[in-house]
Amino acid sequence: MQKYSVFSLIKNAFSNHKNWDVAWKDPSPKSEYDVIIIGGGGHGLATAYYLAKEHNITNVAIIEKGWIGGGNVGRNTTIIRSNYMHDENGLFSEFGMDLWRKMSQDLNYNVMFSPRGIINLAHSDAQMNAYSRRGNSMRLNGIDAVLLNREEVKKIIPMADFSENVRFPIFGGLMQPSAGTARHDAVAWGYARQADSMGVDIIQNCEVIGFDVSNGQIKGIRTSKGNIKAKKIGLCVAGSTNILAEKLNMTLPIETHLLQACVSEPIKPILDNVVTFGAGHFYCSQSDKGEMVMGGDLDGYNSYSQRGNLPTLQHVLTEGIAMFPFLSKLKMLRTWGGIMDMSMDGSPIIDKTHIKGLYLNCGWCYGGFKATPASGWTFAHTIAQDRVHKLNAGYSLNRFSTGHLIDEKGLGTKTWIS
């Protein structure tokens, strides 16, 4: 594989950039693989990459219904953080933060990781107490957390509404300075390019039609490009999890919902952090192009449409304007939606299943993008070793029936609880 560097850039400039290698190939599927990953999103690509890199398993296929970068990995708001209170989420995400910091070097691909800090705003004394508790829990797990008072927040984001007579005055906030953003497309492309270079077959435009299971052991899949055999298969399909589960006669603690995001027209730099509104569900950052990147609540009812509905957008942006009044002057550039695998406790599932050789990675709710490297790393471990790693031991499939829920916020599919 061609290494990307300033020297290769100069060298290729002499041939008018016409001789660059393709970033990944477009192979036809073989009849059998050691491992098949279904879903060529961020998590699937990362899983294949870590299977090859950490476990020397390179006879791997990624089966993708659409194209690389066309799903949720290209539809999120690019936020990366590990500001969780519970140990399972905190340790898992902080492990991921380390992978994020090294990612551009690891992948030889600039993912533009920008640790610009995230601030969760608090709007009451009670919320300050809750943030103080969460911040202390984070610090016990080695995650950086700073509790800011009103004046300190005002220094960082003076454009927020600090007037006295507002419905949700800003009391302060909890900041994780090491959190940030990254270029989401680059993450997909970087993982795809490296996985491909290590021998992984990335098969796009290939839909899974069914599974071959006999005696409780997975044998292979039936796809629109023919049958493919494998003894180990990983499901990594986010909002399509229930569709594939139905083909396996499985019922999961997952509902598929639509989450919207939007960007404004580009403006001069004004916001150099990620900021979330504490009295509702709204988050905002500014992209390198100058667009304000915004998101919030689910549309609120089961949906596979990948296209949002205006009442939710209006609701979310009303919260945005309450926080940053200047947003009301901006024009909307684009809005879009993605379908989310909402788990019942709001935390993900990375586990084995009752079918031998079938592994499940789903339930990412609002937080799939930032989990990409840690999800891929632990899922690769779970598949390669046929046992969960201690980092994803809490993300078990049976925790709902045993009562070991990870109720970080306890939201899951029921947005109105917040």
């Binding site: 229930n242 139905e246 019922t251 603690p253 997952i254 598929t256 009442p311 029936s401 599919t413 029921k414």
Partner: protein, 88 residues
Amino acid sequence: MLYIKCPHCGLRSQNEFAYGGDATIKRPNLNQEISNTEWDNFVYLRKSPRGRHLEFWHHISGCRQWIKVDRDTATHEIFNTYKANEEV
């Protein structure tokens, strides 16, 4: 914007309604031993199909009645609506 025909009030905008989830889930009968699996099925497990989905909506800013809606989760087409106590 969805427009939902409330069986009590007629066609109203989605803004008047709150969503209540899968309407085919049956609560286990009381006055008998209920296993953990039965509770698990009732509380957590959902089919969440792509296509027709029978679901509860609450006409919270209208007549405050719960209703059932037969809706396509991919196209949002609404085929029919029912009163909450109607068997579908």
